[in-house]
């Protein structure tokens, strides 16, 4: 098993080096062979590992000592348990499908080899992230996936908006990582170790305040990586990257790293009620906040991006209310259906010759059938339509909030369900129904090649089936048993029995979802003139949503511009003025002093003698004082 686990990340790494070095000159349009092959094998191996873990074979393995200084020591090592296995499953499956899909999507791009090299590097880093057995290693690959994200967002770097978006993603994440790294230092300084096993074993001895401080610092990192308010601003811009990247990195895997990290740290969070509450509040707020923005976006990828932010908010809410398993369940389901939705949107964009504005689409249902049906399945899952994966996972989250007594959070979450269903089907109706709004684009529209449609179909399978397979009966389904051991330390109450109340709540949330779909139908199919009227009615609020609550503008006005002005002031006034001025002043002083002292070197013996005596006297005084 050790060799297998080692190969999972190493294969993509090897392929990255191979493709990166040889791609430009030699491989060119054949660059995908090594890359897709490596990920395919990694996928098979991940499946094998999952089965092994399923049978109860977990692995904890220190490979070598990475940094050892004084009593600070960090290993490079792997930990494979149930939580890791779930993450491997999502990462490898979506990763494999996205690789295949990219062969078609990226075909003919100038940077074809570069794309596959980067995305391989990402796979390596992401595998390492979930396999790591200590916080520092987690942090290392946390940054590494951030780097890949940067490289891939700015993939089409001649485009100014793309390069800006890449930089923004990196910087916003750095702000989160600032907290994360301090959290790691605090863990080390208080507990003396960074390995998961050591930290969790010692977590019991933490004082409440210290536990809260550590958890909140760690959570800062998660807020950045998983695009939660107020650090969510990078993810919508990240849509500048090629769509397969949005699917893999910005929907299915990397953005989940924050959720994974908090879930992994559950023994720590269990010691701090305050931290848990903060996680729940941020998560719940982000869920409804982002969903409200998604309602008015017209760029198909932006809708999906805000939707991702919102769904990640759900996961954090689940973590915060202590529904650990539900969070991971939703992560899994969301990974599949959002990965699918993004790939579908890519197929739509491909069909429309690069157009992303939904207002220019319409009527595509008949022209791109496979894309339409898979998109519909994804949207239904996202809306929580009964029977699909999203229904069960989302319901597990809601049930967790309700059972835990977090009724306010539950209410907000149910409202979010409504909004989610609305924007999902607004997207469907605008894209696939009615008459085409741009005849020229429509006439060129065509279904994507099979390398792109097959991954859609493959991903549609878990989108439909994962919920029934893993989440039935709710609260004690397969996934609850599978993950029980991981969260044992943090779950205090026994699992809730699925009773009449749960059934009613489930039916209620399903009804809310369907109501959202119906409203979208009413707005966009039945009375297509309604949206414009509604926008006019809501006036200011609509503008506020359209401008994403002006968060970017606020950041520029409050942080970035003042910082730049301040730096400019420092440079011109302090550095060039005060400090250099003082130095130059000293220089002039020396020249002046030289002039003033010139007379004593005028060649008069008495003068020399006098000065010598004076100097000697001073030296003697100093000497006497020093020896005293």
């Amino acid at each position: 098993m050790k060799a297998v686990v080692l190969l999972i990340p190493l294969l993509p790494l090897a392929s990255f080096v191979f493709t990166g070095l040889l791609g430009r000159r030699y491989l060119k349009e054949k660059s995908h062979f090594a890359s897709v092959g490596a990920v395919a094998i990694s996928w098979l191996l991940s499946m094998y590992v999952f089965i092994q873990v399923e049978r109860g074979h977990t692995l904890s393995w220190q490979i070598y000592s990475w940094i050892a200084v004084g009593h600070f020591s960090v290993d490079i090592g792997f930990l494979v348990d149930e939580l890791t296995a779930i993450m491997l499953l999502v990462v490898a499956t979506v990763g494999f499908m996205v690789h295949v899909y990219s062969i078609g999507y990226m075909h003919g791009d100038k940077g074809y080899y570069r794309f596959f090299a980067y995305i391989n590097l990402f796979m390596f880093s992401m595998f390492m992230l979930v396999l790591a057995n200590n916080y520092l290693l987690l942090y290392v690959f946390w940054e590494a996936v951030g780097l890949c994200s940067y490289l891939l967002i700015a993939f089409w770097f001649p485009k100014v908006s793309a390069s800006n978006a890449g930089m923004k993603a990196f910087l916003v994440n750095r702000v989160g990582d600032f907290g994360f790294s301090l959290g790691i230092m605090l863990i080390f300084v208080t507990l003396g170790t960074l390995s998961y096993s050591g930290v969790f074993a010692a977590a019991g001895g933490l004082s409440g305040g210290m536990a809260t401080a550590i958890c909140l610092l760690l959570f800062t990192g998660a807020v950045g990586k998983s695009a939660q308010f107020p650090l969510h601003v990078w993810l919508p811009d990240a849509m500048e990257g090629p769509t397969p990247v949005s699917s893999l990195i910005h929907a299915a895997t990397m953005v989940n790293a924050g959720v994974y990290m908090v879930a992994r740290s559950n023994p720590l969070f269990a010691h701090s009620h305050t931290a848990m509450l903060v996680v729940a509040i941020i998560g719940t707020f982000t869920a409804i906040f982002a969903a409200s923005i998604a309602m008015v976006q017209t760029d198909i990828k932006k809708v999906l991006a805000y939707s991702t932010v919102s769904q990640l908010g759900y996961m954090f809410m689940a973590l915060g209310v202590g529904a650990w398993t539900a969070a991971m369940f939703h992560l899994l389901a969301h990974g599949f259906f959002k990965g699918l939705l993004f790939l579908c949107s890519g197929s739509v964009i491909h069909a429309m010759g690069g157009e992303q504005d939904m207002l220019k689409m319409g009527g595509l249902r008949k022209k791109i059938k496979i894309t339409y049906w898979t998109f519909l399945i994804g949207a239904l899952a996202l809306s929580g339509f009964p029977g699909l994966s999203g229904f069960f996972s989302k319901d597990a989250v809601l049930a967790g909030a309700f059972d835990g007594g977090y009724y306010y959070f539950w209410i907000v979450a149910v409202i979010t369900v409504f909004l989610t269903a609305f924007y999902s089907f607004r997207m469907i109706f605008l894209t696939f129904f009615n008459e085409p709004r741009d005849a020229r684009l429509f006439s060129h529209a065509h279904e994507s090649p099979w390398v792109m449609t097959v991954p859609l179909i493959v991903l549609a399978v878990p989108t439909v089936g994962a919920g029934l397979l893993l989440g039935v009966p709710p609260g004690s389904g397969y996934i609850d048993h599978f993950l029980h051991g991981v969260f044992a330390a943090a779950i205090h109450a026994p699992a809730h029995e699925f009773g009449l109340l749960s059934g009613v709540l489930m039916a209620f949330s399903a009804a809310v979802g369907i109501a959202g779909i119906l409203l979208a139908w009413h707005f966009y199919l039945r009375c297509p003139w309604l949206p414009a009227k509604a926008c006019k009615r809501s006036g200011r609020f609509y503008t506020l949503l359209l401008n994403k609550y002006y968060i970017d503008e606020i950041y520029f006005a409050v942080i970035i511009n003042p910082l730049r002005r301040f730096s400019g002031w420092l440079w011109r006034i302090v550095d060039a003025g005060v400090i250099d001025g003082a130095v130059n002043g000293a220089g002039w002083l020396a020249v002046g002093a030289g002039r003033a002292l010139r007379p004593i070197q005028a060649g008069k013996i008495q003068g020399y003698l006098f000065t010598m005596m004076l100097g000697l006297l001073v030296l003697m005084i100093v000497y006497v004082f020093l020896t005293l």
Partner: protein
């Protein structure tokens, strides 16, 4: 080894006037030989002891109690390795860069190498001072003769700043050499082994510490005595910048570890909080100024101020983690900033400008240059897996163990580092290519790549397996920290007490 470069230089000067290819290859061969020798030294170096090795001791000026006493410990070894490597790579990097008086140019660098290695080996204060000054002269000429348009101003500024520090140091050296005498009739004591055991009263320690410290702080350079650095870098030729940033700045950090702290432990312990505050100002200040620079070299120069703040910050945390972090930052900064200056130089040779605003979209015509710049930019902003991260993280962790609030502010510098470096990268390499003519220019050639590859490989090595390097410095650092422990305990953690009084303790 120390004098091999001088020998090479003399041979070049005497025999090869007017035969450019021959003396260039001689320079290359000499630096290569020195590098190989330094590698041999690294391999033969015993990593299990803190005592000095490869000792040479010859009487030099017995009446003054000064001898030619050389020897190395782990910290010296690491920095010597850096010196010989950088001295080697700058030769091919400036192969066609200099147009006039080429011979003297290469000879100057060889003289410089002698000075640098000597400084890192000297075990006698007077000898140290001689090497220290020996370094200054070739560098002064390198900036003043082969520099840019404002070279005279820059060279003079460099010289005066450094000289001011040197003079203070010389006074302190003489003072302690006389004060350390066992009796009034004995010769002064310059030998470090003997000085190590001398005990000075606190006022003497403080005065001498300050004199030494100011000299080294100028070299580092610490805020607020850093203003010579941007000017010197902008005017210096590429190879000069590489050595200046890569090695000469390290002299400051090295001097602090070798002399300031162990010779005057009491004063050092008392000065800790103030120096840490200066270090943190340097980190943030340097980063903020990098943000608004318009000239690439100035940007890298100010980023050096910021990075060197991690060096002094780590060292003066005076715990093992911090000091090792500080030393590792020195090593890594030498590799990375050296490479960045090389790259800026390569870009300059093609575009004849260093203005950021005049560039843009360079990644399309120069993909190889852009890849290397990306690599070193990322390493420099502390991406884990590359060398910058390990040192900075350890340095911060050491600082964090000393005082949390300081580490929090210093960690802010890492966010800023990402900001100014990525913004620089965005404006130079990304976006639309500004000038179609650039597509006709050639990308990096094999000679230029060969200068960068060893530095990059080492950056990866330090990032992935830092143990190789940490093991070398570990015994020396441990000894230093153990020596300081009682003094640190005595002076206490001033800031923690201060913050506790404010009630702001975590």
């Amino acid at each position: 080894m120390t004098f091999l470069p001088t020998l090479g230089a003399l041979v070049m000067l005497v025999l090869m006037r007017g035969r450019p290819l021959l003396y260039k290859y001689t320079a290359l061969a000499t630096t290569a030989a020195v590098f190989v020798l330094s590698l041999v030294m690294v391999f033969k170096f015993n990593q299990n002891t803190a005592s000095f090795q490869f000792i040479e001791k010859v009487n030099w000026i017995p009446r003054l109690g000064s001898s030619y006493h050389m020897g190395v410990d782990g910290i010296s070894v690491l920095l010597i390795l850096l010196t010989t490597l950088l001295s080697l790579v700058i030769i091919p990097a400036s192969w066609n860069y200099i147009k006039d008086r080429e011979l003297s140019f290469f000879a100057a660098f060889l003289f410089l190498e002698t000075g640098m290695i000597g400084t890192f080996c000297a075990r006698d204060l007077l000898l140290f001072y001689v090497f220290w000054e020996l370094m200054l002269i070739p560098m002064y000429f390198i900036i003043g003769v082969w520099g840019g348009p404002r070279r005279i101003y820059a060279a003079l500024k460099f010289f005066l700043f450094t000289m001011a520090g040197s003079v203070l140091m010389l006074v302190a050296i003489v003072a302690i050499a006389y004060l350390a005498r066992p009796n009034h009739f004995a010769a002064p004591v310059f030998d470090l082994d003997q000085l190590q055991n001398a005990v000075f009263s606190f006022p003497v320690q403080l005065a001498a510490f300050l004199a030494f410290f100011i000299a080294f702080a100028i070299k580092v350079p610490m805020w607020p005595v850093h203003t010579w650095l941007p000017d010197a870098h902008v005017e210096a030729p590429t190879a000069g910048s590489v050595i200046l940033a890569g090695v000469l700045l390290k002299m400051g950090g090295y001097g602090i570890i070798r002399f300031c702290i162990p010779l005057f432990p009491d004063a050092a312990a008392a000065a800790v909080p103030y120096i840490l505050i200066l270090s943190i100002i340097a980190i943030i200040y340097g980063a903020l100024l990098s943000l608004v620079q318009k000239d690439l070299k100035k940007l890298v120069a100010y980023s050096s101020v910021s990075h060197m703040g991690f060096v002094t910050g780590g060292i003066f945390a005076l715990n093992i983690i911090g000091v090792e972090g500080g030393v590792l930052v020195m090593f890594s900064h030498g590799l990375l900033t050296g490479s960045l200056f090389l790259l800026v130089g390569f870009a300059y040779e093609r575009l004849h400008t260093r203005e950021i605003s005049a560039m843009g979209g360079l990644a399309s015509p120069f993909p190889v240059l852009a890849s290397f710049l990306l690599f070193f930019t990322l390493a420099s902003l502390g991406l884990p897996g590359l060398s910058g991260f390990v040192g900075e993280f350890l340095s911060l962790l050491g600082l964090f163990s000393y005082n949390k609030a300081m580490a929090v502010i210093a960690a802010g510098g890492i966010i800023l580092a990402a900001a100014y470096l990525l913004w620089m990268y965005l404006r130079t390499m990304f976006t639309e290519t500004r000038d179609e003519k650039w597509f006709k220019l050639s990308d990096l050639n094999l000679r230029e790549i060969s200068a960068l590859v060893p530095l990059g490989a080492l950056a990866v090595w330090v990032g992935v397996y830092p143990a190789t390097f940490l093991n070398i410095i570990n015994p020396s650092v441990t000894r230093l920290v153990h020596q300081m422990a009682p003094y640190m305990a005595q002076h206490g953690n001033f800031l923690t007490r201060f913050l506790a009084a404010l009630g702001g303790r975590l």
